[in-house]
């Protein structure tokens, strides 16, 4: 749950309240269609010149593929077939002269999953404020309670993850900056999918993620180019590279249009096996057929339109489409996987005060 490094160097003097509505739907030949609708609320409130508090609340309702063991449920009332998630987080930031400390907590609850997390982050900047260092540590304690697990109930299985972050932000010149961070995540506990008949994963997972952003402003078109690259090295054996480019174009009358293109290429986890189910499988050996751990390439196209309105109000609408295919990977993708597509729409309204 560690945030990035791009944090303010002084307490903001304006508060923000934002409402977002997110609508997701995916499809794949021969599988369930999942749709998620989630409204969320975010607020940032400056408590004083040196202290701010911010927090958010999310409620997701998931319909379509609830990962339950049962195909459906018989009951005396028509409620409760769907899945839901509620999540909340809060962060308190205290600013000093040349540094700031942020303390955060997060909570997320689903029918079969409970997660609680806390984090502390300290950052400091140079006298000319052109360079910021950040260091952070986070811990998450999760509980998995899959009563309807396909191999019997999975009750109260723990998972503990510690995250460590190091980051730097460097202003290159008046128009560009680069920001880079490394996160090391070390988790122990239950990682398998309790809703799959055969799914055995290691009890420990370490992930190294390196994320770099480069932003450059172009005064001619009054636009900003944002580039991002992310590398992930996972002890499960999968590696991924993600490249993203956005063009934030200012338009007349307070409009901003941002097209985004993102490409991801990922290798499979070492214990991922393509369907069909392998011959000679020994129960208990590491095995997954989870498509998220397969080798694939994926492209996301996004377009966001935002408008500044009077009274500090900003409205925005974003549409994203995603497509994932085995043969879009650089190198060889996992064969035999149907292409997977998704789209999501976001509607946001925020007000500064």
């Amino acid at each position: 749950m560690l945030p990035g490094t791009s944090l303010a160097q002084s307490a903001p003097d304006e508060g923000v309240i934002a409402l977002r509505y997110y609508d997701y739907r995916d499809w794949q030949a021969g599988t369930d269609r999942i749709s998620v609708r989630s409204p969320s609320l975010y607020a940032l409130v400056p408590l004083s010149d040196t202290l701010t508090v911010e927090g958010s609340l999310v409620y997701d309702s998931v319909s379509g593929a609830s990962p339950l063991y049962h195909d459906t449920v018989s009951g005396a009332s028509g409620r409760g077939i769907g899945d839901y998630r509620t999540a909340a987080d809060a962060k308190l930031t205290r600013y000093f002269g040349a540094s700031a400390i942020a303390v955060g907590a997060a909570y997320s609850h689903e029918q079969d999953y409970l997660s609680r997390a806390a984090s502390v982050e300290w950052r400091t900047w140079s006298a000319d404020r052109n360079r910021t260092f950040a260091i952070g540590i986070g811990a998450a304690k999760d509980r998995i309670n899959a009563v309807e697990g396909v191999n019997g109930p999975v009750l109260d299985q723990p998972r503990e993850t510690y995250d460590y972050l190091l980051g730097i932000t460097q202003v290159l010149d008046a128009r560009s900056l680069v920001e880079s961070s490394v996160t090391w995540s070390d988790g122990r506990g239950f990682y398998a999918d309790p809703y799959k008949l055969h799914d055995t994963r290691p009890g420990r997972r370490r992930i190294l993620a390196w994320l770099t952003h480069y932003n450059r402003y172009f005064p001619g078109p009054d636009a900003t180019l944002r580039l991002a690259y992310r590398y992930i090295h996972d002890s499960f054996g999968d590696r991924s590279h993600m490249l993203e480019a956005s063009w934030v174009q200012t338009l007349p009358e307070g409009f901003t249009l941002t097209p985004t293109l993102r490409y991801l290429t990922q290798s499979a986890a070492s214990f991922y096996r393509d369907p069909p189910f392998p011959d000679g499988f020994v129960p208990g050996e590491l095995y997954t057929a989870d498509a998220r751990l397969s080798a694939f390439g994926a492209v996301t196209l996004g377009l966001r339109l935002a408008k500044e309105l009077p009274h500090g109000i900003t409205a925005d609408l974003a549409v994203n489409v995603y497509r994932q295919r085995g043969d879009w990977r650089i190198g060889r993708g996992s064969p035999g996987l149907a292409a997977f597509s998704a789209r999501w729409i976001e509607l946001g309204l925020s007000k500064r005060f």
Binding site: H70, D71, T72, S74, A76, S77, G82
Partner: protein
């Protein structure tokens, strides 16, 4: 994996799962099945002024109302349930809702005089009906198809799926489940039975292949005063809520059978087991103390399997 379609009607959430590689076919069949559920709701909802039910109820004490074959078949079925349940299952007992308000906060137990007034309007055996018309003899009497409409709609949806070429489907109308065939891979559909005291948990499973399961329970509409729960299932003889069982689930070839057997068992309270056992159906009953009564009909009938997680 099947295509899933979720929709709301009859004040419940419904879901269709249709297994076919032909997405366009699944969409067409789902649209037809959903349209039929809405048709049945429009015809039989007592909340709609233009429904058949409202027309019959408005004419109570005045005139007979002409009915079609579909309505007559539902009346015949309701008549059979009335006879089998010794009068406990009575589609004229909806008038008790005038005395019992389950939405009112704080809750209130009706006065004996209020219940007496409502009970005077109950009596399926006083209804004059035939295959072509029905007449409620007393002004204020009402028919209510709520006890069988949803299950009937589930069976109709199953027929529509099969007629239009879907041979693997699972219909769940507000918790009443009807399976068309097995799953696409030939294995039976796996249906969980809701824990009557936890809406996010199940207490048992049943495997369905071309069969149905329905659950009736005290948790659909109720209020509590002190330790006592007052649920919406009312004994027409006393006007009082039943209290013996938290829920009863029954498996049967059709949803309408499963649903009415489950409701009758709830209404019969102490005599529930004696009613269900000779029917040759599998059932699962959860008593007020949480204890379970499970009966496997044997043969090819589906059987309830209680979760080991309990």
């Amino acid at each position: 994996m099947p295509w899933r379609y979720r929709f709301t009607a009859m004040a419940s959430v419904h879901e269709l799962q249709l297994s076919t590689s032909d997405r366009a076919l699944a969409d067409r069949v789902a649209a037809a099945a959903i349209a039929d559920v809405r048709r049945i709701e429009a015809r039989y909802s007592r909340y709609r002024a233009d429904s058949v039910t409202s027309a019959i109820n408005r004419a109570a004490g005045r005139a007979a109302v002409a009915i079609d074959a579909e309505t007559a078949s539902l009346l015949r079925y309701a008549d059979r349930c009335h006879a089998q349940s010794g009068g406990r299952f009575d589609i004229t007992s909806g008038v008790l809702r005038r005395a019992w308000d389950f939405k009112r906060r704080p809750p209130r137990i009706p006065l004996p005089a209020e219940l007496d007034a409502a009970r005077e309007l109950i009596g399926w055996d006083r209804i004059e009906w035939s295959d072509t018309q029905v007449h409620l003899p007393q002004s204020g009497m009402e028919l209510d198809f709520g006890g069988i409409g949803k299950e009937y709609a589930a069976d109709r949806a199953a027929v529509i799926c099969r007629d239009l070429g879907i041979v693997h489907a699972l219909v769940n109308l507000g918790g009443d489940v009807r399976a068309v065939g097995p799953r696409a891979d030939g294995s039976p559909w796996r249906v969980g039975i809701r824990d009557p005291r936890r809406d996010d948990a199940t207490i048992a499973s049943i495997l369905l292949d071309d069969a149905a399961v329905a659950t009736s329970g005290d948790y659909e509409r109720y209020f509590e005063i002190g330790e006592r729960r007052y649920c919406h299932l009312l004994d027409p003889r006393t006007g009082q809520p039943v209290s013996r069982w938290r829920s009863v689930s029954v498996a049967a070839p059709l949803a309408i059978l499963a649903g009415s057997h489950a409701t009758i068992a709830m209404l019969l309270e102490r005599d529930a087991e004696a009613y269900l056992a000779p029917l040759g159906v599998s059932f699962l009953m959860v008593a007020q103390d949480g204890s379970l009564t499970v009966r496997d009909a044997g043969g090819a009938s589906p059987a309830f399997v209680v979760s080991c997680a309990r």
